[in-house]
Point group: C3
Chain length 353, copies 3
């Protein structure tokens, strides 16, 4: 099985690191290994969820769905590359919502006149995406205002504001879980029938824990070679974060979304792509803020680079425009991919001086 | 009757002012008195409207609906606290559209699976809210551009631009009245049956005039103690304006919206919350610009603080996302309240240095 | 026939130019001549399209639909007035999308309770408009970020970024042609029945070529007198570009949209107004970037004036809010015109110092 053999990337990246291979080679192999391990965690989680029944299973799926991104983010934060983590967050949002959803809609639409989405679901996901954008932009705007001298005689403490906003986001996420898994379960339940687990409970847990530990190790390798790799490729570390690292964390989602779209299960594809971006903002980002505060290397919610804010806001608007009417066609997929390429071009043409 | 006994706040605030009580105590009692008096004006207006028949009555309701906010705003402008008035305007918009509508949707949705809105009405209100946002942002963006040196050799006169924009806003509001009360009356007429007046014409007019005069007096008191109160509470005067003063002017709307939502009359709740924000921008703000120009203390439409622009724009987008589909659920209410709390946190963490 | 006699403007503008009449008079007559010639090109194109059959005819219509704007833009670029070309682009977008569509909806709605649009078409045009806005804003935001010191040790090359983005836009436009003319032709075909051509093939081609050449000549005249005219009228050259030059290029579209709206053919009116704005961004702007690069007077996509970005973004949001529900009423038309007047006021009050 192909995915099994790809696990060979893990020992390869280990060996390359210990023999001191060129940084870019270590970066590429470690990043690819993380992508493969993330997919194994997803499988283990799926099996675990089948043991647990519908509601608890749904909770397990969404809770463990972002483990890989969280671990990768924590190690990059720990090594002090704040800007790279923020780039990775931005890149994950545009990677799943623009590139992933765009490819899915394009694939699904090539052989069909049009595909339909549940309007209630598309509407909720669009609204949550707009909320996420507001939440991510807010601290940056406040920080910018306070620092640029628009207000006199004030001080702002980014850490306090970030912690406060993170609590609000986690509470809203808890509300979202109650909404989709309990009170309005009928609207949001996926089409997939409940299946019996094929792995035992112990195997499932073992796979999840082992892969998480190995991802932590690979994340450490990646953090070490980030700057040298960027220098060799004549790119900014930021470009590596927005495009490369982000796609590492989300490649599994993008493949899965394309697969479901091909089978005309657009609700699942939408859920994976937009749901993944929302979960990043409402769960991974607040947790990074909290854990990094404990590690005494606080990551704030303040995105210092306006490009990120623009990229995230654009994503929300174009996804909203495409998804809200409950129908998709191939050209809408092409538009989403086009916006991703435009944003990627912008990050690409900002080169080291 | 509870509302009658609350009028005792008026003499209490008078006494506290004349015995020289601590500023924050005078601020709180005067602010609460304004909230109570605004509710009495609303009742008097309702009675007056019942004497006048449907179309003229509707006109009376909307025209007198913002008297309290206008009077309060004028006195704060007259005392020179320009930034506080702008904060109060921003606060009223987010207070009714996010907090008020959010609470109403939450209350209404707790005991129901979903509630419906008339799509035509929700669509018009959303569109007017976006128009209002553009109108409020425009002068600030022009001013910013002209002053930051993006354009060479130009001058911009904020007062002229503000007066010109105010005329356009008032004309659009007149068009809106013709639209909702005359040409498309059938679409926008509220569900409430016409009721017979229970107060005489003279009593109704007397209550309105008296309460307006007393609000003017209380507003004068509030203006006097604004700065000392902010200093004591270690808050910026701006925070007092955005959160406290704004809620004073809109608490009646928020309670009424919650009440109608509880009775599943979402169209009325939406009308109160969004209609109140729109009326503020299309009527109260232009009138403040005109009257303040006559008072030789011109208030311009230029919102100098980017936080206000961001808060107002965010409100329009999230309300649009929630209301446009013509259905609401409790979680959408929670999202609106969540965005209000996020924005409030931002204003809160900007502290005096 | 009225349109025939208006061609007299061409010799009049020629004579005025050669006798050295006052600049503003030469500006006005040349500008009016361009508007008339653009309408003749439109007629010639329509005849040509009828010779070619439905699909190729549609392709001819959209391809030649922007010839006048492209030629006018090229001559203004060639004379070095970069800011005026960008102003003309902004002005064309708001002129067709706000003023043109607003007038059309207003005219159509005055004698009807409501008019309907095909939702699929309105949705696609709204989405493309949002894409266009993102594409136009992106280079400016990147440029701003790189130059304002938010990023350290980077350089950005506006020309490379502009060329790259232009390629993406042209590819998306090709996709749009395939979508509307081939794969989803049934959804987007206009209501108008195919008509037999009344002009011969040669006459049609001759009219198009001749008018294009004369427009080039008149554009040269306009470029020469731009600055003196602005000085005499005490306006910025930018105001001339945004309001006057832009309306010259789009007056034909605005008249046609009003005419179709009057006959209750709102789909055609919408197509003309929004389609024209989209075509400008996806075709005319990239071609201007490419051709100007060849002329060694590169025009970049970087809009240096934030007013343009705000005007364009506002347009997309309000058009989206008005058109998306598939229904229009007179008041929505009034709102669009109102936003146009607000933006126009802003540009007007930025006066030469």
């Amino acid at each position: 099985m192909a995915l099994m053999s790809l696990l060979a990337l893990v020992p390869v990246s280990l060996v390359l690191t210990f023999i001191g291979a060129p940084p870019w080679l270590r970066f590429v192999t470690s990043a690819a290994a993380v992508a493969v391990l993330a997919e194994w965690i997803r499988r283990g989680t799926e099996q675990l969820a089948r043991h647990a029944g519908a509601t608890v299973g749904g909770l397990i799926m969404v809770t463990l769905g972002s483990v890989a991104e969280l671990v990768l983010g924590l190690f990059v934060v720990a090594s002090g590359h704040m800007a790279v983590v923020q780039a990775q967050i931005t890149g994950s949002i545009i990677g799943t919502s623009l590139l992933g959803l765009g490819i899915a809609i394009l694939i699904g639409g090539l052989s069909r006149q049009r595909q339909t989405l549940k309007p209630a679901k598309a509407g909720l996901l669009s609204t949550l995406l707009i909320l996420s954008v507001i939440a991510l932009l807010l601290p940056a705007i406040f920080d910018y205002t306070a620092r640029q001298g628009h207000l006199r005689d004030v001080r702002i403490t980014d850490e306090e504001l970030s912690l406060g906003a993170s609590i609000v986001l986690l509470l809203l996420y808890a509300g979202n879980l109650g909404y989709t898994l309990v009170t309005h379960r009928d609207v949001f339940a996926d089409e997939e029938a409940d299946a019996a687990p094929t792995w035992g409970l112990g195997v499932s847990l073992g796979v999840i824990v082992t892969c998480t530990v190995v991802i932590a190790l690979e994340s450490e390798f990646i953090s070490d070679v980030l700057i040298p790799t960027a220098a060799i490729l004549r790119m900014t570390p930021e470009f590596l974060g927005v495009i490369v690292l982000a796609l590492v964390g989300t490649s599994g989602d993008i493949f899965a979304a394309g697969w479901f779209a091909h089978r005309d299960q657009m609700a699942l594809a939408l859920n994976i792509c937009i749901g993944s971006a929302i979960q990043l903002v409402l769960v991974v980002v607040p947790l990074l803020v909290f854990i990094s505060a404990f590690m005494a290397k606080p990551m704030t919610l303040v995105f210092v680079n306006p490009l990120h804010l623009f990229a995230i806001a654009s994503t929300a608007f174009i996804v909203n425009a495409v998804a809200r009417d409950g129908e998709t066609t191939w050209f809408e997929g092409l538009l989403l991919v086009g916006v991703y390429v435009l944003i990627g071009l912008g990050f690409f043409f900002i080169r080291p001086a």
